[in-house]
Subunit: 488 residues, 2 copies
């Protein structure tokens, strides 16, 4: 056995354990008995301790250095790049700090949930300040001289920086604010009927299959907040259902199918290795978004879906495919990020991005956060936030220490814009197929251009390669949105 083989055998076992830990998380959101939460937190903690000890094992560093000196094959070097990144980060964060952060964020999440229920930001501010203090400590430990916020972004989107995001978002923001204002001047149709919940679930399974989700290597269950979980041959998705809003169920499912197809589409050779997962949050989100929006909310596909829904539910009050298309893409006033349409969604993200940058740099204190949120919201959206649960308290992310995560949602949209432009040039008769509910050409193209590579290329590189070499920019997304929503 060479050092490389030895190292990879260990990493394979670690990846297998990480899959087990992930499945425990899935179980917690879907199957766990309600009184098992306390015991479960000990079980999850024990799994995290095992994984942490393996990441910090000094023998891992020795083997890694030895392997790096041996290996020249491109795929093997990509494996080592991931292990190196993970190893260095693990070694740089003091063990005490990692434990303190895990404990604090567990407490902070509880306090956030209470504060949100009571619309009381002041009750959450002190613990949030403490979370930010520890996240700054963590960022300082791993930054090695870089900007602190960049060091945090790196956990979710390797090689991305706040400066590059600033440039990208500065281009997007005025055009989206303008598009939002124009779109809100028009009337948008909405659904107003009852849709049988079991029929919604049956239809969402059918759509999942059409979008290429492999049920032999996954399953669909219910969860309060839909998510996708697992890699390789066991990638599970969840959805939710509301009798008056079938789009919630159907488009949550398509979104999670995008994430899941990415994981299911990775080269089986990479299974249970560092390359065997989606390469970044941004690229992951590009897959869920292009499935959900550019494909799932297209005029062509919704034309098919309109007929399929009428077969499934009978008449439901909209009588033309074009009206249905506008209902699917309805732009409306609202405070909540997760309920936003394609235009306003990115404005929600940019607001959070600017505020969390300022929180981490120290330019904004938690005492001033609520006012800063409300001012910015009114400036970008044109109306005032009515209460904290519709504003600064709406998202769980900051309470659990996720700083640098929000921008990857918009980056996913940007990447999806690039991919969609390239796909339209590459897949023959795309719209004809979509109008028949046939996603095969689109999803095969995504699989062969993006998904199959797993972690082999850097995030921006895998997108650029798929798009004929062009660096990803926001322009294709903005053109797509302006064409679609300008014309609706």
């Amino acid at each position: 056995m060479t050092a490389y083989d030895d190292l990879m055998a260990q990493e394979r076992e670690t990846q297998a354990l990480a899959q087990v830990a992930g499945r425990l998380g899935w179980d917690q959101e879907t199957m766990m008995p309600r009184a098992a939460a306390e015991q479960r937190s000990e079980e999850s903690g024990a799994m995290q301790a095992v994984l942490h000890a393996r990441r910090c094992d000094p023998r891992r560093g020795d083997l890694l250095a030895e392997a790096e000196a041996q290996v020249s094959d491109e795929v093997a070097r990509a494996q080592l790049r991931h292990i190196r990144r993970d190893h260095d980060r693990a070694m740089l964060v003091p063990g005490d700090l990692a434990v303190a952060l895990a404990r604090l964020t567990s407490r902070a999440q509880g306090q956030w949930a209470e504060a949100r229920a009571g619309d009381d930001y002041a009750a959450f501010a002190p613990v949030l300040a403490e979370v930010i203090r520890l996240k700054r400590e963590e960022a300082t430990a791993v930054a090695r001289g870089r900007d602190l916020y960049d060091a945090l972004i790196d956990d979710f989107e390797p090689d991305m920086t706040a400066t590059r995001l600033d440039t990208m978002f500065a281009e997007m923001r005025p055009r989206l604010v303008d598009l939002r204002a124009r779109a809100l001047e028009r009337e948008w149709p909405a659904l107003d009927a009852h849709f049988d919940e079991q029929a919604q679930l049956r239809l969402s399974r059918e759509l999942a299959r059409n979008f290429g989700y492999d049920f032999a290597r996954g399953r669909l269950d219910m969860a309060v907040h839909p998510f996708s979980s697992g890699s390789g041959d066991d990638v599970r998705i969840t959805t939710r259902v509301s009798e008056h809003d079938p789009f919630n169920c159907l488009y949550s499912t398509i979104h999670e199918v995008g994430h899941a197809c990415y994981e299911q589409g990775i080269d089986p050779e990479y299974r249970l290795t560092p390359l065997g997962q989606g390469v970044s949050m941004g690229v992951h989100e590009s897959q869920s978004r292009i499935y959900e929006n550019q494909l799932g909310r297209s005029r062509a596909y919704t034309g098919w879906l309109f007929e399929r829904m009428r077969e499934t539910f009978g008449e439901f009050g909209l009588d033309e495919a074009e009206t249905f298309y506008r209902a699917v893409n309805r732009v409306h006033r609202g405070y909540i990020r997760t309920e936003a349409d394609e235009v306003q969604y990115n404005l929600h993200i940019m607001l959070r991005f600017d505020l969390e940058k300022a929180l981490i740099s120290g330019d904004l204190s938690t005492d001033d956060l609520e006012a800063a949120w409300n001012d910015r919201f009114e400036a970008d959206f044109g109306y005032a936030v009515d209460r904290a649960s519709n504003g600064v308290l709406q998202d769980v992310h900051w309470s659990v220490g996720l700083f640098g995560y929000f921008p990857t949602y918009s980056l996913g949209n940007v990447y999806a814009g690039c991919l969609y432009r390239a796909m339209r040039g590459a897949v023959p008769d795309l719209e004809v197929h979509l109008s028949r509910g046939d996603l095969g050409g689109a999803t095969s193209w995504l699989c062969s251009k993006v998904q199959v590579h797993g972690g082999r290329f850097a995030p921006a590189e895998v997108i650029a390669r798929a798009c004929g070499g062009a660096e990803p920019t926001a322009e294709p997304l903005l053109e797509y949105l302006e064409e679609k929503f300008g014309g609706l």
Copy 2:
């Protein structure tokens, strides 16, 4: 921190990891996507490797010795007794042998399933011989001079020996053979109707609740072979359903509820410690059997169940409670252990016990096993085995290396007999309550006398304490069976 505290903190984490590994097994039988099996075996293997490394960690032995010198409290000493037993066994089995056994039994189980499907014992015999060879090696490593088969029993029923079982079974066998012969002379009614499967499942949930199963700390799902899994606040059960045989669903559920109530009933102070599980397979089986048989198949309880089933399913062809009672307890010719009634079940076990003893001692070779099985079966049951899948190939146990496990089933019946005699003397108006479907008095008695103690007392000791100090013997079981089946 004393050495004891330190040791217990480590054991707690190990117990938490063991719960995770167990839940992975539950997932595999209930939820896992069908194409995930290969990846799952790597995941389970990685968990077993982690658990094995913790059991064999030399620091564990050091801390244990230090703690044993410090501690005098009775409960703490019981904790250390379990850790000592586990530690010594883990240290005595060579690592290579443990790995070889895991690999071999995984392969042997596959070959057994194929051989059973083809009714071809000769195809299974070679790999079974190999399993027995390694099990003898393992037994030799852990026996420290004791009999090899006793060393294997010890894994499932600490302190039990083949000699004591021989004595017990020698008393039971002629009386059961006689009772079987007399029972088979009579006619037994059987169900012959259709029973809605969803209604069976609803009723089985109701029965589970009546027998004291806490759904807030568990859940009921479907599995091909019903089982119970987990300890503490997350104890899950499974059942199966067949439209022509509601007793299969209902009594499988009650049986697993007995196992689960044992785990759920353990003192919460012992959660995630070595005392926080049922103390042995025999005591575990005593709980599942007394729930299923002495209580669930009693004349009093079936009187209530008869009415409840008529409310649930409408008329189903039996018109008297006494006929229903005889249908529930129907004695019939059959080859399969898991389908046997209370009388014949123990004869199935004794056959396996005598054969596996001879296999381990070397007195019986795998070449002669099938003939030995068939001869013994005809002697005890009065008719010949028709094919291997109805005979020597019917159980999975030997293929996966479970030797010394079978006798704990009958031991569970013996213990259940002792407990039932004591319960009848201790619980006022037991039959009146059972005839109203009220199990509360019986299950509270079992909880306070047996279940609450978890691993605190040795197996025979916890039964003796529950029965006013008397050593457990087969006499109460035999009297119960002779009274019940002699009078039916």
